[in-house]
Symmetry: D2
Subunit: 302 residues, 4 copies
């Protein structure tokens, strides 16, 4: 059913002018071919379509955030919101301003400050945080080759002054409870994971499938997973979340590696990868392709 | 199908502790009985349920904003976004701060500044703005008694210093093109309209019904109305839009008169009225009832 | 004693590149010859030096603010600080941001919001505010031709949307007690007064002379006038007060008409006029000339 | 000449109600007796008066900042302002907000961010930064026992998350050029130095004496030292600089250890110590005593 429309969108996308800049703040991201483009769609009925570079891995970066959040949510449930909010930030993803005005409670779990608080929670609740987390991703997807890219993680650690600043700032407010360096190490690793579009769909399957993974494990219940999706809708695209909601109308999450994952609950998951980013840090071509998808099919949450 | 669950929710709601304060900034709002509570649901199949004070009129206030926006959108289409944004504000509804940082372009059409810009657009495009607008509402709903409450409008004009400030501030940036007083007069009138929950559902019917009103008029096309709904989702509840999305999971709009209207596209529209407001200016009990509705039925957009 | 050094500075100033833009927000200011330049110095010993256009009148604009403040201070004394602060603002002169964060208490009496509060105080305490104020200036200077420029005042009233916004914003916080329009009318008039550099020195004489005017009237006592001077030092040059303090080292006040008045307490008063403004709204050449004066003579408060 | 008035002020000060809280963020500051009070005045004529605990050492903290600034100014001169501003901040001393809005250029050298930039400059220009700096202080004062308090420095390093955040934030903007940890180590040490009121006067002597130390060394020329004094006037008391200027009318610098140093150029230097701080982090009793001094003697810069 989606084959034809996706082929069409893929072709149109390839004809778009090449707009936007690749993320360059670490060498590993800067070395990527900016013209890569992949799109992958997986329906809950089992239909799967992969086009272009849909099977090539890239750095998922912030797309890891709904995954760490969901895992932390299994530990703390609604108590998690004592340490992080659920409101869109209206500020860039790495801003310290709002954090200061709001006394160390990040606006939401998808801005960097919020994700650092979530990382702190996982460092508290996991015995071997890095090992346990990657194993969690392998188990829910049956993709045993998923792994951290250690050169990316190392590179982020040596240049991530803004994130180091954020973590210490949170610590000054008491909203990091573990050793700052340990939390940062976990955070830099979670961002370094590589996946392909096709793999992202399998890992994120449970968000579209009422909390149940492709291999039948229930991660969160129906009511809980709705809340995770609601958060992606409100806050998944930095200070462009409203624009994505307006244009695309699906909950989702983007990363500065150029990836986007989005989903229509109970129907499908779709991932795109194109490294050229707009000024808000979201993939230019990915947003175009996803807008085409919901416009042509009329399938959005609205 | 909804009768039983709504009865249940109505009963539970009436048992909730009485939390929140009634809006008092104009005498007309302050005089309302704070314990009023109504809930009305209308499905696209034609089922209608009215409970409590569902047929008593109240001041719709900001609930008028999606209506003026939709009408302005029929005139300007996507060009409207040159004058107002689509992002959640992260600030109180009547804040001037963001407006200054962003050079007179309001964050979205549902904060007061944005609604004033929309009012300015209607003053430009309508021959007799106030008459034309109320007639528009009558025509789409077949409720010919809909009207402005002139004492409310007058009261807002004489005490609305913050709104007068906002309008002049916008004018200083060139984002009000008509006479400031004329725009304010229209704005104070649109906020003064009275409707009951049951009437709100009929007026807002086209948002749930792919752009087509209860009496068969197409106001906006399917793609356009999705965008209006997306905006209500992102920005409909001031700086609590994320919270409403998280808890309720439906696009909607609230007003300081205590009303809320929300909808599940293609399924139903639901309105609540309870004048006690939480600190963000949204109806405490209304949010509770709507959260119960989506939790109990599992029917939300996520 | 100052004749030679002032001649020197005057010549050097005339050779400076013509930098900066004339204020254009009202036609009356835009019509001024941007190359006008005058400098006038008056010592407490009675020496007076006038160079260039020192005897030509121009619109004093914000230079009126220490005058209204001093008059209001005679009515309220230290109680005045319940309604306005004494801290530099770190923001542009017409910003609304800080006002919102600080709940309607302007940072200091020299930003527009603060001057509007002072205007409100005068409207409360003067029987015929405009008449009484201009008479006050005539009496302390013996210059009976001082007057409002009604075309400037009218022009500001019809284009001063930002000030109208500020006044209504203050009113919404309860920090304007009189009718908003009456306060604005007074404010637009105080800014419209015309004086020459030479006249400014005579009017401001009491700031340098421990509170006593040129014709021997004590306006404020020694301790009080020190506080007025301290305020000019901290806050007299919008968000460039630190720069002026750093470069010039004298308390003073600037206006967008291109005038600056500054003083070395117990020694002299000096005024300059050059309509070209830097990006902070201060006279480019005036600041240059005054920096030369304190550097060449070594006479500053530091 | 000052003996009698200082005795008077000392007595009155001791009778004041005990207001304010001692700084507690590191144990070394929290352990100080909050009722300590010393005042020391040194005139350029050689008169010296020491009252109360004027000879007891305390942690000078931020009072070190004009000293590092002056030393850095000997290396870079006016070029220093490419990396830090001269404007009052209008924000708390350790705020990150303004830094973000202004792209990593701290508002002035006396807020923590600015002092970190100055520390970075000294780390660049000094061979053995810590040794060289303490030697500089010993040389200008002939007090060879001046030294770092290593337990204070260590304590600040282990709890100074906000300063670590600031330094990394500056580094992310490129405005720290050396290794972040090395700069922080220098900064924590400069703040840990102990001096008595009497010693502070000797060390700060050159600020009052046109750039020449008590033992005759010229650190900065007359014009340069005026600029240092101007900066202390504008920015020496965090977001209370206007208040200090208004009430006291002398350039000066405070520290959270409870010390204040102030000076009337060409006349005298005065230091006070009282550990109870007001909500802006300035010594409550110190400000009272200094206000009394300038009010009673009529000796201020205004």
């Amino acid at each position: 059913m989606f084959e034809k429309v996706l082929q069409e969108i893929y072709k149109e996308s390839k004809l778009q002018p090449k707009i936007g800049e690749i993320a360059t703040y670490i060498p590993e991201l800067a070395n990527v071919n900016p013209d890569k483009f992949g799109i992958s769609l997986l329906t809950l009925d089992g239909e799967e379509i992969n086009l272009g570079d849909a099977n090539e891995r890239f750095s998922i970066q912030s797309i890891s955030k709904p995954l760490t959040l969901s895992l932390a949510f299994t530990f703390l449930g609604e108590k998690i919101w004592e340490r992080v909010g659920v409101e869109p930030s209206g500020s860039p993803f790495n801003s310290l301003v709002q954090l200061e005005y709001e006394k160390g409670i990040p606006r939401n779990p998808f801005i960097n400050a919020g994700a650092l608080v979530i990382a702190d929670i996982l460092v508290t609740h996991l015995k071997n945080p890095k090992t346990n987390f990657i194993n969690f991703l392998r188990e829910i997807s049956d993709i045993n080759t998923l792994d951290y890219d250690l050169s990316v993680a190392k590179s982020e650690a040596s240049t991530g002054f803004r994130n180091i600043a954020l973590a210490n700032f949170l610590k000054s407010f008491g909203n990091i409870t573990n050793n700052v360096d340990e939390v940062l190490d976990f955070y830099f690793h979670q961002c370094s994971i590589s996946m392909s579009c096709s793999e992202l769909n399998k890992v994120f399957y449970f968000f579209a499938n009422e909390g149940v993974t492709l291999n039948g494990k229930e991660i969160l219940n129906r009511s809980q997973i709705k809340r995770m999706n609601a958060l992606m809708q409100s806050c998944g695209f930095y200070d462009e979340s409203g624009e994505f909601t307006y244009r695309v109308g699906l909950p989702g999450k983007s990363g500065v590696g150029g990836g986007i994952v989005a989903m229509l609950p109970k129907k499908f998951i779709v991932s795109t990868w194109s490294p050229r980013l707009n000024s808000n840090g979201n993939s230019e071509l990915g947003m175009f392709a996803l807008e085409q998808l919901t416009t042509k099919t009329g399938m959005s949450i609205f």
